[in-house]
C-alpha cells in the first residue's frame, strides 16, 4: 500500500503527543544527564556547571574497564541463557492445547509481579547453606552435606535469568505461535527428525526474532543492580551498581552521569554491531 506523504502541519498532528512524551520523559532527562556528566563535582555541595572531561577520564582505568567488561559479559550471558531456555520451551508450549498455553502464560505473567528484591532474597535463601536446595540434595543422597551456593557468579546468573525469562517467553511467544506449522511438517516429510527439523528450520526461520529477543534481554540485564549485590561478591558487581553507589552514596553526580552515558554508548554500539552482522549475513 502506498501512502501519500504528509503535506500540512495538521497531517503531522498524530505525532505531537508521542513526540511530547518522548521529549519530556526521554530527551530532557537524558540531555540533562549528558550535561551533568561534563560538570565539575563540588565535594561540599552537589556540582557546579562546567565543561570538563575529568569524569570520563577517571574511569579510563583497568578497574572500571574490568567492571564494564564484566557487566557486558554478564548481560550477554543472561541473554543467551534466556533465549536458549525460552526458545525451545515456548516452541513446545505453542504445540500444546490452547487451555494449557493460557495456564502457563498466566503463571509466567505472575512471576513478573515479583519485585527484583523479592526475587533476590528468595534465591539467596534457596542458595543458602542452612535452608537451601543443597539440603534437598543431601536428603536424596546426591550430596554429603549442604553447602552455600552464594555469593557466586552462578548465583547472580541464575537470579538474573530467572528474572528475565518471563519477558523472553512473552516476546518469543507471538512469533512462534504465528510460525507456519507446515514448515516443520515439510522438513519431516523430507527426512528430518523432529529435533533436526527444529534446529535447521524453526530456528533459522525465526532468526530475526531471536536476534531482537537477545538484544531486549541484553538491555534488560544491563540495568540490573540489585541482584548482583544480593547474590554476588563485589567482584560480580556490575557498572549499574557502581553508578548507584556514586550517585546515591558518594553524591558524585557528574561521575555517575558520565558512567551512565558511557554504558548507554557501549550498549548501543554492541546492539548496532549485532544488527550489522545480522544484515550482512542476510545479504549473503
Amino acid at each position: 500500500m502506498k501512502r501519500e506523504a504528509p503535506k500540512s502541519i495538521a497531517d503531522y498532528s498524530p505525532l505531537f503527543f508521542p513526540g511530547l512524551m518522548l521529549i519530556v520523559f526521554f530527551v530532557i532527562p537524558f540531555s540533562t544527564m549528558i550535561a551533568v556528566s561534563f560538570f565539575q563535582r563540588d565535594p561540599s555541595g552537589f556540582y557546579t556547571p562546567d565543561f570538563v572531561f575529568s569524569n570520563y577520564a577517571r574511569f579510563l582505568t583497568p578497574f572500571f574497564g574490568k567492571v564494564l567488561g564484566f557487566s557486558l559479559m554478564l548481560a550477554v550471558m543472561v541473554a543467551i541463557c534466556c533465549v536458549v531456555i525460552a526458545f525451545p520451551f515456548t516452541f513446545l508450549l505453542t504445540k500444546r492445547p490452547r487451555k494449557v498455553q493460557t495456564i502457563w502464560l498466566v503463571c509466567l505473567l505472575s512471576v513478573l509481579s515479583l519485585s527484583e528484591v523479592i526475587i533476590g532474597f528468595a534465591w539467596s535463601t534457596l542458595f543458602s547453606r542452612t535452608a537451601g536446595i543443597t539440603n534437598l540434595f543431601v536428603a536424596i543422597g546426591v550430596m554429603k552435606e549442604p553447602v552455600a551456593l552464594l555469593p557466586s557468579f552462578w548465583a547472580v546468573l541464575t537470579g538474573m535469568v530467572y528474572q528475565a525469562l518471563p519477558y523472553t517467553i512473552l516476546v518469543l511467544y507471538p512469533a512462534l505461535v504465528r510460525l507456519d506449522p507446515t514448515l516443520l511438517e515439510a522438513a519431516r516429510t523430507l527426512g528430518a527428525s523432529p529435533v533436526r527439523a527444529f534446529v535447521n528450520v524453526v530456528v533459522p526461520a525465526l532468526r530475526n526474532t531471536i536476534v531482537a529477543t537477545l538484544i531486549m534481554v541484553f538491555v534488560f540485564a544491563l540495568g540490573s543492580y540489585l541482584l548482583p549485590q544480593i547474590l554476588g561478591r563485589p567482584s560480580h558487581w556490575t557498572l549499574s551498581v557502581l553508578i548507584t553507589d556514586q550517585a546515591i552514596y558518594q553524591s558524585n553526580m557528574p561521575f555517575a552521569a558520565a558512567m551512565a552515558v558511557f554504558l548507554v554508548l557501549m550498549s548501543l554500539a554492541l546492539v548496532g554491531l549485532t544488527l550489522l552482522v545480522g544484515r550482512r549475513e542476510n545479504a549473503l
Binding site: E185, R188, T189, L190, G191, S193, A197, V201, P204, A205
Partner: protein, 345 residues
C-alpha cells in the same frame, strides 16, 4: 503387493470420525486423486499416509510392509503442502537440496541434483534466487522439485494448485500429470476440483463424510457413479425418481421409459442421467412433456433447463445437435435407457 494399501483406516478427533474405515488398494505407479467436498476427510487421509497424523485404527501397507508405526521422516516420501511450506531462509537451490543435506550428501552432489531438478521443472538457473522473489507458479514448481529430490516411493500433494489462477492451474495439471508419467511414481493428490481430478488421475477416490464412496477410473466414476452423492459431486447430473409398477415397467416423472430396469423387488429408485445424454424432441411418444424455462447459450454448448413434473432437467448439447428452442416452449424430453444409471436411493 507392490503399491499402497489402506486397511480399515479410521481416524477420530474426539467424537468426530474424520475418516471412517477407509479401504483402498493402489498399484505402484498410479496417479490417485482424493476428491470430495471440504471436511470430507481427504486431507486427513493424506496426512495419515504421510505419517503426520496417526490412524486411530487400521493399517497402511507400502509394498507389503506395514508402515503405520513408522515416523514420517523414515517413510521416504515427498509431500507438497497447500501452503507449499518452502523454507523462507533458504535459496531455491538449498530448498530443493534440503533432503540431500539431511542425508549428509556432499555440497557437489546437492548442487548436481538441484540443478537436475530445476531443469526438470523448467526453471534452470534459479538455484541462487531467494524463494520470496518467485511467482506463485514458480514456487509451486520448486515445492514439487523439493518433494521429488530423493526419488521417493510416494508423492503426496495436498491441494497443490488451489493458490494458482485458473489458467495456470490448468497448465500445471497437465504438467504434473506428464511429470508423474515420466517418473512412474505412485502419486496422491487431494483436491476438491473434479475437473482437476478428471485431468490427472488414473484412479479417482470420491470421499464424503469420512467414507470412501467410490474408487474407480475417472470415466467410470462419471459414467457409473456408485450413489447419488458421487453422481451429484462429479459433474452436472439430473437426479430423478423412478418407480416400477407391478409388471416391472419403470417410469420417470410419470412417463414409462422402455428398456429401463431397476433391481428386482424395489418399487422406487433414483436415476442419474448426465445433461449431455438428455435429448429433446417433439412432445408425444416416449418423451416426457416439459416446458423450457431457460436457455443458456455458451457458444460451444447450449444448456437448456426444462421443467417437467415439478423437477428441473438440464440438457446440454452442441449448437449443431440442438433443435432451436426458446423459453416457454413445450418440448418432449427423451431419456435413453442405456444412459440412465440406477442408484440406490
Amino acid at each position: 503387493m507392490s503399491g499402497l494399501e489402506l486397511k480399515d483406516i479410521t481416524k477420530t478427533f474426539g467424537n468426530f470420525r474424520a475418516v471412517d474405515t477407509a479401504n483402498l488398494s493402489v498399484p505402484h505407479g498410479k496417479f490417485v486423486c482424493l476428491l470430495g467436498p471440504s471436511g470430507c476427510g481427504k486431507t486427513t487421509l493424506l496426512r495419515m499416509i504421510a505419517g503426520l497424523e496417526e490412524p486411530t485404527s487400521g493399517e497402511i501397507l507400502l509394498d507389503g510392509t506395514d508402515i503405520t508405526p513408522m515416523p514420517t521422516h523414515k517413510r521416504n516420501l515427498g509431500m507438497v503442502f497447500q501452503s507449499l511450506a518452502l523454507f523462507p531462509h533458504l535459496s531455491v537451490g538449498d530448498n530443493i537440496a534440503y533432503p540431500l543435506r539431511i542425508r549428509g550428501a556432499s555440497r557437489d552432489e546437492q548442487k548436481k541434483r538441484s540443478d537436475e531438478l530445476l531443469k526438470l521443472i523448467h526453471l534452470p538457473g534459479f538455484a541462487d534466487r531467494p524463494v520470496a522473489k518467485l511467482s506463485g507458479g514458480q514456487r509451486q514448481r520448486v515445492a514439487i522439485a523439493r518433494a521429488l529430490a530423493l526419488s521417493p516411493k510416494l508423492f503426496l500433494l495436498d491441494e497443490p494448485l488451489s493458490a494458482l489462477d485458473a489458467k495456470l492451474r490448468e497448465a500445471m495439471q497437465v504438467e504434473l500429470r506428464q511429470l508423474q508419467q515420466r517418473l512412474g511414481i505412485t502419486t496422491f493428490v487431494v483436491t476438491h476440483d473434479q475437473r482437476e481430478a478428471m485431468t490427472m488421475a488414473d484412479l479417482v477416490v470420491v470421499m464424503g463424510n469420512g467414507k470412501i464412496l467410490q474408487a474407480a477410473p475417472p470415466i467410470e466414476i462419471y459414467r457409473k457413479p456408485a450413489d447419488a452423492f458421487v453422481a451429484d459431486f462429479i459433474g452436472m447430473t439430473n437426479l430423478l425418481d423412478a418407480t416400477a409398477d407391478r409388471v416391472g415397467r419403470v417410469s420417470v416423472l410419470g412417463q414409462a421409459i422402455p428398456n429401463l430396469t431397476i433391481p428386482e423387488g424395489l418399487t422406487k429408485a433414483s436415476v442419474s442421467i448426465r445433461p449431455e445424454d438428455v435429448h429433446l424432441g417433439p412432445v408425444g411418444g416416449d418423451a416426457i412433456a416439459g416446458t423450457v424455462t431457460f436457455v443458456r447459450d455458451l457458444g460451444g454448448t447450449i444448456e437448456t433447463f426444462i421443467e417437467a413434473g415439478g423437477k428441473t432437467i438440464v440438457a446440454v448439447a452442441t449448437p449443431r445437435e440442438r433443435p432451436e428452442v426458446v423459453a416457454g416452449q413445450q418440448v418432449g424430453v427423451i431419456l435413453p435407457a442405456e444412459a440412465c444409471v440406477v442408484l440406490k436411493s
